[in-house]
Symmetry: C2
Subunit: 255 residues, 2 copies
């Protein structure tokens, strides 16, 4: 599948794939989380097949787009898990976010028309392709969609501020705790267990996001385990004391 996708003319592949995939927001189980939140069923059906041009599969480790690519569409994660990252001049990577089902990827590229980050799948994934031209046209027809997109972009800005708060003013333990709590919250909102985290990213990727090294992340997790806050088994983390994790953020340095 991967080789097929890469070898085919992208245009051709997209139409083939779209036909096979039954692109319909109204019957998608993510419609309570994803872009169409707030739209009535009538509104949704009215724009059916127009909001989402097609779907695309992205295998684990594969790149959805690269910094510098033309940004004429954004992507909604349908299944799977992504990371986006920027690169500094000397080649340092900074992961700017992890995206899970229902979240949009590529919004930062709208300004310049070119993507500002790389987006890579951390597990086999599927995304909905949302062409920007079509999206803007539909926004004008549906104020609810317009409001929704504004909120999504505003939220993305606020998420960035939160990341700055973590990176700029928190210690390693606080950063890791905030990160885990954030994941728990987002997974919980999607109906998954909020205490059993199957991490999709490596320690190194966690570290690259949090401004720490993989070793520090590992040590911090081990430390949390020693405190009885959670149990680590590789990439599976069972949070046994969510309130305790929250207390790490509160500034408590107790046991």
């Amino acid at each position: 599948m991967k080789s097929l996708q890469n070898s085919l003319n992208p245009q051709l592949f997209r139409s083939l794939h779209a036909a096979a995939c039954q692109v319909q927001c109204s019957s998608c189980n993510l419609r309570e989380i994803c872009l169409p939140v707030g739209l009535t069923r009538e509104e949704l059906e009215r724009i059916e097949h127009r909001l989402v041009a097609s779907r695309r599969k992205v295998a684990r480790g594969e790149t959805l787009f690269r910094a510098g690519d033309r940004a004429d569409a954004v992507f909604a994660v349908r299944t799977g898990f992504f990371k986006t990252f920027a690169r500094s001049q000397q080649g340092n990577e900074q992961i700017t976010g992890f995206q899970m089902a229902g979240e949009l990827i590529g919004l930062s590229g709208i300004d310049s028309g070119l993507h500002e980050v790389d987006a890579v799948a951390l597990e086999d994934s599927q995304v909905c392709v949302i062409p920007l031209a079509e999206l803007e046209a539909l926004e004008r027809e549906l104020p609810a969609l317009q409001a929704r997109l504004h909120r999504i972009m505003s939220h993305e800005i606020a998420v960035g501020h939160e990341a700055m708060l973590q990176l700029g003013s928190m210690h390693a333990e606080e950063r890791v705790a905030a990160f885990l709590l954030n994941l728990m919250h987002r997974l919980g909102a999607r109906g998954f267990s909020a205490t059993s985290l199957l991490l999709r990213m490596s320690r190194d990727e966690m570290g690259t996001f949090l401004g720490l090294t993989a070793e520090t992340v590992s040590r911090t997790l081990t430390g949390f385990q020693a405190k009885g806050l959670l149990v680590v088994r590789q990439r599976l983390i069972e949070v046994t004391d969510p309130a305790g994790l929250q207390r790490v953020l509160g500034g408590a340095d107790a046991d």
Copy 2:
């Protein structure tokens, strides 16, 4: 003026003030930088007095809005300089950005309807008040305005990513250099000298933005001066070797 503004009924104050101020984007000298970029003169005149409800003066040190305040408007800086900052649970402040003429403040509050940050003027300033309800209505009438707002919000997201890159993967010297270069770029785009920076923020505020202490910022600036990259005289910084500053980012550790 400050006491007048605070004591009066806000509604009354706003209308009095609006009348006095000649609120007109079409004759504003920031129209090439600010929200209306890309609008034709006809479009601009058509929405005159609707995009900007009023203006508001904010004295140095005064708060434009606080985190938790209702966010029913965003603000365009007309004159002056602002900082926005978030607070962590234990009260740490993290400055999330500095805003100068033509830049919008308050976009992160659109999602929740409540402002996520505090906005404080660092010098006597004036802002244009842009009610969100009116803005969204106008967007539907003017695709150019819609596109412009999308680009502004997208840009804000990208700026956040850049800040994450600085905070997460740069050393003190690189952060300060990147910060100065960013200021130079923005001032240059506004027709100011791009090499003579009159900093509006304290060393502590710079540090709070960059995830450093005021002492480290001071030492770093002194170090740059010793290398001949710039001359520091309090808050006035004359950049004598912009390329050298750029080289600090490039990873060169030479003189």
